[in-house]
Amino acid sequence: MSYSLSSNFLKPVYQVTSHTTAQSSSASAGVLTTIDGTALSYTPASGATSVVYEVSFSMQKINDRYFQSFRLEYSTNGGVSYTEFNARYQRSVGPSGATGQAYRELRNFRWVLPAWSGSRDLRVVVGSYATGREAEYHGLDKWDGASAGSPTTVLTDTCLMVYSI
């Protein structure tokens, strides 16, 4: 069933980021890295009560099990400094504590945030729980039934959309 509506999303802003290399999170605990393709400036629509930030990117293990923590941040001074929206928006992802874990996935986050006034620079940062728990983003180690090479030539775009409700 299909519909035609006058407006599907309120003041949507979107971006697709193609990557040429994979990106790794820090191998050190407490060191946060911005995930390429997640940074975007947004001013909510007038009268909006909430803002939706939705993003997807691929991730996979590097050496062994990963344990990654994500948080959403904003800046009101042109990116000079960033503040976390709220700790309730933090997300941690990781397989079991056993060794020899090789998970892969397309990670999708959808945050519904209180609206704000003016423009904010938004981004998603990621950190590792401990050394050895880092992950690799955007690149795929295997594709079409074979190794994708090292460095890989098979990468997943980061897709991001922000809109008001």
């Binding site: 035609s4 509506l5 979107y14 996979q60 090789a102 397309l106 594709w143 990468l155 991001l160």
Partner: protein
């Protein structure tokens, strides 16, 4: 004077989908295909599909267990995938359980969210998947395990939203 800007929007769900076994041939995922009619041919396409997937295992008979590794990609077409089938660059991604140790089972919903910026000249979009090898297959949409039983099969309805995004 008033104006009506009709942007394309589609939403659908497949109720009680049959189990799909993903093996080494690319297969269209149930409920993932959509006929797209953009108002503006230069518009981008918002695509969001959700389904359930698991390792290839029946916990009532674990002799069938396989550690799953699945390749996913979006495709577009101008003839409903009869002869024109085009892979969408940048949509390729993997889903897997642990593929090092044996007997690592995984059961989870999956969301595939994309924005496709180049859709001019095309009319259909879908998500396809294949396994890495014949011994790393996966199940979609149904599980044997629920409420403490491994013989009470349950299903997860698929959902799909496709929307026009004008620049």
């Amino acid at each position: 004077m008033s104006y009506f800007n009709a942007r394309f929007f589609h939403r659908s769900s497949v109720s009680a989908p049959a189990r799909q076994t993903i093996s080494t041939t690319y297969t269209e995922l149930t409920g993932s295909k959509c006929a797209v009619r953009l108002r503006n041919s230069s518009s981008a396409v918002y695509y969001k599909y959700c389904c359930y997937w698991s390792t290839y295992v029946d916990l009532n008979d674990t002799s069938t267990e396989e550690d799953s590794l699945i390749h996913f990609k979006l495709q577009k077409s101008n003839d409903n995938f009869v002869s024109n089938i085009v892979d969408i660059d940048g949509s390729r991604h993997n889903e897997s359980c642990d593929t090092i140790e044996n007997n690592d089972y995984l059961f989870k919903p999956k969301t595939a969210f994309y924005i496709v910026e180049d859709f001019s000249g095309y009319t259909h979009i879908r998500l396809v998947a294949r396994s890495y090898s014949t011994s790393q297959r996966a199940y979609l949409h149904r599980t044997f395990s629920w409420d403490g039983s491994n013989t009470d099969e349950k299903y997860f309805n698929t959902s799909l939203i496709v929307s026009e995004l004008e620049a």
